[in-house]
């Protein structure tokens, strides 16, 4: 699941918190070069917190300066192989619950949120 880049809310409350999740792990071929290129785009602490809330403790607290292959593999696992199939994502700011079903998050805003 592409957690970090999609998680947001119109009111800058980030990241969304997961609840009632059903996880699926789908092995994906490793492309560590791709993962590495993506590093500058990640909000590290948000990613680590989210991964931990999903029960994955493999990521270090601080973003490493020098990455080992094992660390990159752990990151690959979180970003590319860990899928939330069912569950909810809740905005910490406004409380909006975005449901996920069959792995597809529904992130439509409700009517009263559109104009804001």
């Amino acid at each position: 699941m592409y957690i970090v880049n999609v998680e947001n809310c119109t009111k800058d409350n980030f990241p969304l918190s997961f609840s009632e999740v059903e996880l699926v792990i789908r092995p994906a071929p490793e492309n560590l070069e791709f993962i590495q290129r993506f590093l500058p785009k990640l909000d590290w602490s948000a990613l680590v917190d989210t991964a931990r809330s999903l029960g994955d403790e493999s990521l270090p607290e601080q973003m490493p300066d020098q990455w080992t292959d094992d660390q990159l593999k752990a990151l690959h696992h979180v970003l590319m192989e860990l899928h939330v199939e069912e569950g909810n994502m809740t905005c910490r700011g406004c409380g909006h619950v975005y449901p996920i079903s069959n792995g597809i998050p529904n992130m439509l805003l409700a009517e009263h949120e559109v104009g804001r």
């Binding site: 699941m1 592409y2 970090v4 880049n5 999609v6 998680e7 947001n8 809310c9 119109t10 980030f14 789908r26 092995p27 994906a28 071929p29 492309n31 070069e33 791709f34 290129r37 993506f38 785009k41 909000d43 590319m80 069912e86 619950v97 449901p99 079903s101 069959n102 792995g103 597809i104 998050p105 529904n106 992130m107 439509l108 805003l109 409700a110 009517e111 009263h112 559109v114 104009g115 804001r116």
Partner: protein, 491 residues
């Protein structure tokens, strides 16, 4: 540098050069077009090495086969003269088993002429064994004819041999990309909808996005995902979003059901490249930052089969709620399962400009935006492609167009020239397309849905001409007919 003969399909002519250029960009090799007329059945290109030809054969969906060019001429005697001076190119094949093939572009060569034509090459003095099946080397004679309708065998015999040009070379290989559209045929796809893009067009579009392993391709109007399968086929990671999640999912419901898009991806063996498909309105998107997508590729809904929608309420309808609605039983409407927020039409001119602005923000520097722009042919002008700072249109000649008569769709390819992300687009309605502001020119795709439905009646002839059709810079010409009132006429 060696030159190569590309035997190339005559369909989608205006897509062939952009397609070849994009392949040369993905694999970073120079390509030069030698043919004066780039739109015939034979195209001569100059490449540095044979490996580049293989990239073209692998990827291009229009190239039928490729050969290294040895000699050419307007007639056989010109060709033979040139070949006699160039016999050293055959040295590596002197003792190889070989065969000769005679092919015609735009014409099926009459078989009885084959033997004498091949025998006219006797001076090449090849000593290898002639072997029709799996020879070590195949030499090809291409006769290039003008397009002409010749249904009867008499007509075929009559024009046989009256070619414009003839080429001789050694076969490098056959187009493999050519087979892909059939492999991805929509009718045989595990999941598709009424808006699915023809698979060949899908490949031509994807090619423009320069897909390659490790790149991310995003479709903000993903629908049934047709734009993504071809990109994923070339190894790119893909993701899509749509305001209507039902398209992504398909009809089947239930927890264990795999979404339709992923079912089709699994059929093509690319499911692990599908990062995510999400339901959201791209104008109210949860994307947090820009500068990380390598290509945006989309076929925006233009209202013929499906209309574009964005969250909100139609003008003149109920006002937009600013507080959540509570049912008498104390539950909020938006928290109930199956809640669908109201939507309003998304006018195509607004959508297109927003799309380019979105690309300006979301793409990496050098990233590409590829999309179809439907347009009423009569009204199309160069200015119709939105101009946004930091985004440059890439176009060959008149651009790539699929012409349907009164309307057509142009494939627009743009490159992000800006180095920064810039601010995210606001997605406000653009005032320049608001009829109330009496715009001087409306793009050929403005109000496309209505115009499609009314059979593309001319804006100029319509009873209530839109102000956009009055050429602003021209003074009306006054023509006076004797005995009548003064009439105004626009030229």
């Amino acid at each position: 540098m060696p030159q190569y003969i590309l035997r190339i399909s005559l369909e989608h002519k205006s897509f062939r050069i952009p397609s070849l250029l994009s392949i040369s960009q993905v694999f970073n090799f120079p390509i030069r077009f030698i043919s004066k007329d780039k739109y015939r059945g034979i195209l001569i290109v100059e490449l540095e090495k044979e490996e580049d030809v293989h990239h073209i054969l692998e990827r291009d969906t229009l190239v039928l086969s490729a050969s290294e060019l040895y000699a050419e001429g307007k007639t056989y005697s010109e060709l033979h003269d040139q070949m006699r001076g160039n016999l050293r190119v055959l040295a590596p094949y002197e003792y190889a088993s070989f065969k000769f093939t005679l092919e015609g572009a735009n014409h099926r060569v009459v078989e009885s002429r084959t033997t004498e034509t091949v025998e006219s090459f006797a001076y090449t003095d090849l000593k290898g064994k002639i072997q029709m099946k799996d020879p070590e080397v195949e030499f090809v004679i291409y006769e290039d004819y003008d397009f002409e309708i010749a249904h009867t065998s008499e007509a075929r015999y009559k024009r046989d041999g009256k070619f414009q040009h003839v080429y001789f070379g050694r076969r490098v290989g056959f187009g493999k990309g050519r087979l892909l559209p059939t492999k991805h045929d929509v009718k045989a796809r595990a999941y598709y909808g009424n808006t699915s893009m023809d698979s060949h067009m899908g490949f031509l579009m994807a090619g423009q996005a320069l897909p390659a392993p490790g790149k991310i391709v995003y479709d903000p109007f993903v629908g049934t995902g047709s734009m993504l399968y071809a990109s994923a086929h070339w190894g790119a990671y893909v993701m899509g979003s749509d305001i209507d999640g039902r398209q992504i999912r398909g009809k089947s419901k239930g927890k264990e059901v795999k979404p339709g898009i992923l079912r089709a991806a699994a059929q093509y063996g690319t499911e692990d490249l599908f990062l995510d498909c999400l339901t959201y309105d791209v104008t109210k998107s949860p994307i947090r930052r820009g500068g990380w997508v390598d290509a945006i590729i989309t076929d925006p809904p233009y209202g013929v089969r499906a209309g574009a929608k964005r969250l909100g309420r139609k003008e003149g309808g109920k006002p937009l709620r600013d507080e959540p609605y509570m049912f008498p039983d104390g539950r909020y409407s938006h928290q109930l399962p199956g809640y669908l927020p109201p939507s309003r039409p998304y006018e195509l001119a607004n959508l297109t400009l927003d799309l380019v602005q979105l690309a300006r923000w979301l793409l990496v520097p050098g990233g590409r935006l590829v999309f179809f722009l439907p347009t009423v042919n009569e009204d199309y002008q160069e200015v119709d492609v939105p101009v946004v700072e930091g985004m440059k249109e890439l176009k060959v000649d008149e651009g790539s167009v699929q012409d349907f008569g009164k309307w057509g769709r142009r494939l627009i390819t743009m490159e992000k020239t800006a180095q920064d992300d810039g601010p995210p687009p606001t997605f406000e309605d653009h005032e320049e397309f608001d009829l109330r502001n009496q715009p001087e020119h409306l793009p050929g795709h403005h109000g496309f849905r209505e115009r499609y439905a009314t059979g593309f009646s001319s804006r100029k002839k319509s009873e209530n001409p839109s102000p956009a059709n009055t050429p602003p810079s021209l003074e009306p010409v006054v023509s006076v007919t004797p005995g009548s009132k003064v009439q105004y006429q626009h030229i």
